[in-house]
């Protein structure tokens, strides 16, 4: 057997290699947040937030330096700016760990497609970062607000949205691919989360913000942004966002359902049942009623009582039935309101009814495909809720019902 050619080839290989893609860990900066704003002179202003890793090593803990650094640059395209950042930053940037993409309100109003293409096309970005629209302040401000527990602003933001989605569901849970496929699909319009700043942006950007108990400035979730194609058209508040998310893929949430229907009473005087939704499934349907589409939402799921302010005896079946009925009416009403609100105010099908319609009635959909949003805005909505109340914590009767009546 002749081994010489292989040796030759292997040696050749050794010389050929130039380790093109090799970057040592010491030569990179991890980008965790990207903020896109409208530039003053050029098209965009891009801000990157990079982690200062040396702050996280054991030996240098508690040093003076800040946990993250931000840097802004103006230019005409995001992709060029991304590679130009080294004007002011020492190391090469890697974007695979980007956690949040902040988009300024102004930019969003003009359309986001132009720079999203870079994120979609580049192999560097993962598909697990949040897309948020910043309300009020410019997007770059949000990359600078520190927080004592999670020192890097974007990591904090990412964690916050995750926890919020799991606990209550007030975030649309949109990822890049979802956003882009919603933009390209005719039967759906994209949404994105919205955030706002509470407090003073100047104070938030110094690490002194971390030293007081009452944090002076804080980034808060604030519902979601509604897009028509790729342009921002408006915002929805937190409850509406939860309701929107319920039509998509909500897992957990909690509800306070009024015990008795007292139309006139203010919520301050009402009694509430606190319910935790533990499992739910939503089905969207579009039926044809005399040639016109009817949007149908059907919610099924399980709930449990977390607390009750009502005097009813929870050990009784009737009470369970009553509560269930109240809950279902409440939920159906809530979601109906949200959908109708979207229909009236924006006329943009963010729920994906168009896609559902396409799957169910392909031929009919083809007819209205081009102006589906108009059809959507005029369509009738029917929401049906079928939540089941299963259990009530570790106590049976509430002590409220045990309190001896005064009169």
């Amino acid at each position: 057997m002749n081994r010489k050619p292989f040796l030759l080839l292997v040696i050749c290989m050794g010389f050929l290699t130039g380790c093109w893609d090799r970057v040592e860990l010491n030569d990179i900066s991890i980008v965790t947040g990207l903020a896109v704003d409208k530039g003053k002179e050029m098209k965009y202003k891009l801000t990157v937030e990079i982690v200062n890793a040396s702050q996280f090593s054991k030996s240098q803990m508690g040093g003076e330096a800040s946990p993250a650094i931000t840097y802004s640059l103006e230019g005409n395209s995001v992709s060029e700016l991304v590679h130009k950042m080294n004007i002011g930053i020492t190391r090469r940037l890697i974007f695979s760990h980007t956690r949040v993409l902040y988009i300024g309100e102004e930019v969003a109003k003009e359309g986001v497609l132009e720079f999203l293409d870079y994120l979609d096309r580049s192999g560097q970005f993962r598909n697990d970062f949040n897309i948020v629209i910043t309300q009020g302040e410019k997007a770059e401000v949000f990359t600078k607000i520190t927080y004592p527990v999670q020192k890097v602003p974007s990591l904090k933001m990412h964690k916050q949205t995750q926890s919020f989605i799991e606990e209550w569901g007030g975030d649309p849970g949109v990822r890049l691919t979802d956003f882009i496929s919603a933009v390209t699909s005719l039967g759906r319009n994209p949404v994105a989360a919205a955030i706002k700043l509470k407090g003073d942006p100047k104070k938030g950007s110094s690490s002194e913000n971390n030293q007081s108990l009452d944090i002076e400035s804080l980034v808060e979730m604030n519902g979601m942004a509604v897009f028509q194609d790729d342009k921002l058209v408006g915002f929805l508040d937190l409850t509406d966002t939860r309701n929107y998310y319920w039509t998509q893929e909500l897992k957990n949430t909690s509800l306070s359902v009024p015990c008795a229907k007292q139309d006139e009473a203010k919520s301050r005087d009402q009694l509430f049942n606190d319910l935790r939704v533990t499992e739910t499934y939503t089905q969207l349907k579009v039926d044809l009623k005399s040639g016109r589409p009817v949007l149908k939402v059907k919610i099924t799921g399980e709930t449990r009582i977390e607390a009750t302010q009502c005097p009813d005896d929870i050990t009784k079946i009737e009470t369970y039935n009553k509560f269930e009925k109240q809950t279902n009416e409440f939920v159906a009403n809530e979601i109906q309101k949200t959908i109708e609100k979207v229909q009236e105010e924006y006329g943009a099908d963010i729920f994906g009814f168009g896609e559902v319609f396409n799957r169910q009635h392909h031929k009919e959909y083809k007819k209205v495909e081009k102006n589906w949003d108009e059809v959507f805005a005029q369509a009738e909505v029917e929401v049906e809720s079928d939540l089941h109340l299963r259990r009530s914590g570790i106590r049976a009767k509430s002590f409220i019902s045990e309190i001896p009546k005064q009169d």
Binding site: P5, L8, L9, C12, L16
Partner: protein, 79 residues
């Protein structure tokens, strides 16, 4: 024939260049000469020197094989 491996190498190489030239002609609508030139010539500023050197290695190898076959034949004949 004694130089069969080298001959085959050259034959297959030229023929395959011919094949891709025909396809390029179909796709690009450019004169034949430019396409052949593009397919054979060495483009600077790219890493194509690697494949050219590999081609050279292949060519040298085939010559080596032929040489060895010839030597073996001679020794077997003489013995």
């Amino acid at each position: 024939m004694i130089i069969l491996v080298t001959f085959m190498f050259c034959l297959i190489f030229c023929a395959s260049i011919g094949v891709i030239t025909v396809f390029d002609l179909y796709l690009y609508n450019q004169p034949l000469l430019t396409i052949v030139k593009a397919n054979v010539s060495f483009q600077r500023g790219t890493s194509q020197w690697m494949i050219y050197s590999v081609l050279l290695v292949g060519f040298c190898y085939s010559i080596g094989v032929d040489y060895r076959v010839r030597k073996n034949k001679k020794t077997s004949k003489s013995s």
